[in-house]
């Protein structure tokens, strides 16, 4: 056991880390290859690909679309996720179980199926494929995460806090704006970043719900089917660094808020006789 502890487990761990990072590093390196083909070894190096992709109209257009979709879907899923979390917090027992099951249902369907079901649905209600449809699909997928994150935070909130605000003269609107939303803000910010990333990296829903314009993952997918050049490695690397940086920041943000100052306020709980 000691041998396993000291040698084998750390070995396996770092092997796993290599498995995670090596392909990404290799891909990043490929972006510097001075040739039109993806191949090793790399004999001469250039930064040309990294510069070129930043002026590729199709790529820029797809990134712009992805960004629009990400923002729109995130806004929708937070606007819907909030009331869903409020409703869930109000229910209990069997009703709550049923509600939670319905809310998280999309997360348990095979992605292809839920994307296709939405594709049929938007066709029936007369919504065109394209930006709005993709954002709608992404919002469906990310809403459960918003609900879970908001609920977690909501559970740590003393009910007396809203009661106290009401007692001090705050009506329902003010309680929401001044007490509840500010209290939830760490969870909302976390959910915001999470949804943005989820939307940005999604392929299947964008593929089936998209129209003529392609989001970045869809564009990359279709280019990969025709052949590879180091430019794709370059743009992939840029996106990789951007999303990973953003993701790590979001992760740290959520963690620090969860461990942070919210825990200290609960003194005795709130038991009314």
């Amino acid at each position: 056991m000691n041998l396993i502890r000291r040698m084998a487990l750390p070995g396996l761990f770092w092997l796993f880390v290599a498995y995670l990072f090596l392909p990404l590093v290799v891909m990043a390196a490929m972006g510097f290859r001075d040739s039109n083909f993806v191949a090793f070894p790399i004999q001469s190096w250039t930064t040309q690909w990294y510069r070129d992709v930043l002026f590729d109209r199709d790529i820029l257009a797809s990134l712009w679309l992805s960004a629009q979709v990400a923002v729109l879907s995130t806004v929708i899923s937070i606007l819907v996720g909030l009331p869903v979390a409020f409703l869930t917090a109000r229910t209990s027992g069997l009703l709550r179980g049923a509600l939670v099951a319905l809310v998280v249902l999309p997360a348990f369907l095979p992605v292809v199926v839920s994307a296709i079901a939405l594709r049929i649905f938007i066709g029936r209600i007369g919504l065109e494929t394209g930006m709005v449809a993709i954002a709608f699909g992404h919002a469906v997928a990310s809403m459960p995460f918003v609900v879970v994150m908001v609920l977690t935070r909501l559970n740590s909130m003393s009910l007396n806090m809203t009661d106290a605000a009401r007692n001090l003269g705050a009506d329902e609107v003010i309680v929401l704006v001044r007490i509840v939303l500010p209290y939830l803000s760490p969870a909302l910010l976390g959910a915001f970043m999470f949804c943005m990333l989820l939307s940005f990296e999604d392929f299947v829903r964008s593929f089936f719900l998209g129209g003529f314009e392609q989001t970045f993952p869809v564009l990359l997918f279709s280019r990969l089917r025709f052949g590879f050049d180091p430019g794709l490695a370059a743009i992939s690397t840029i996106i990789l660094i951007a999303t990973t940086g953003f993701g790590l920041y979001a992760e740290r943000f959520i963690r620090s808020r969860r461990l942070g100052r919210d825990t200290s306020i609960s003194a005795t709980g709130n038991t009314h006789d």
């Binding site: 056991m1 796993f16 319905l102 939405l118 704006v177 993952p217």
Partner: protein, 309 residues
Amino acid sequence: MTRLLVSLRSFAPYRAMLELYSRSPLLRLCLVAIIPVLWIGATNIAPLAQMVEISFYEQYPVRQGEPIEWTLRHYAAFFERSLYITAFVRSFVFASLATVITLVVVFPVAFYISKVAPKHTSTRLLLLVIAPFWVSEIIRSFAWIVMLANRGAVNSFLSMIGLPGTPFELLYNNISLTIGVVYLTSLYMLLPLYAALEKIDDNLLEAAANLGAPAWQRFTRIVLPLSREGIVAGCTLVFLLVIGLYAMPQLLGGPNNTLFAATIGQIFAKAGDSWPLGSAFSIILTGSALAYVGLFIALFQRRRRGGSA
């Protein structure tokens, strides 16, 4: 903002509305429930219900003025062509295998982070392995293409060290697909496993060692049973993820090993008149996948009850 809201209250209808709202629990519930009910109805129920409906249509779209013809033909079609059944079975076998492989690969990693590595480093180690999570499926597929292609990094390395027979055909087969899929799913396994292992009290292991349990027994009789829920959760997540994979099998898998999700996707990529068939297949896939996972969970729980008796 607040002052505006406060001064708004001198406006009588607004004040009356607030009074009414705060005095009527039913009204409150209705207002809170309206968006969730509409949204869940429109996004989580209606599309699925419609899919079920369409799967029984003779044809879709229904022509103007013609009555809807109902049929089971599309479900029958699944059993008529071995092509479909093969893809279906292949999907389940592949997803199961990928799940098991992910579990075997990730378990030692989760165990190392949560139990063996020094406590103060575990958060950093966890972040290290979580980092690539935010890279999209397509980019990760591409990264493995660069690794495994005939003139990719691995073959280049192998020929450099003088291995004969290079280049090896590493890409576009089940092995390359498995490597890529495990790469994609490992985090979904890691997080539940880590959460479960983290909760196990270190004293338990020390107590067992103190009582003379050898390492292997400590693992099978304490660590495994106590991390069972994490294992079940991780396996469920991973299986459902793999069974619905669409892009990666097309990028990394072989041309003759089509998975069922891709089959469905291709049916839908055709004209609208194949939608009833695709819907039927979607229902078959979803139903079987959920049943399969449900059975798996049920089996695991029964074993636990039996074991503790």
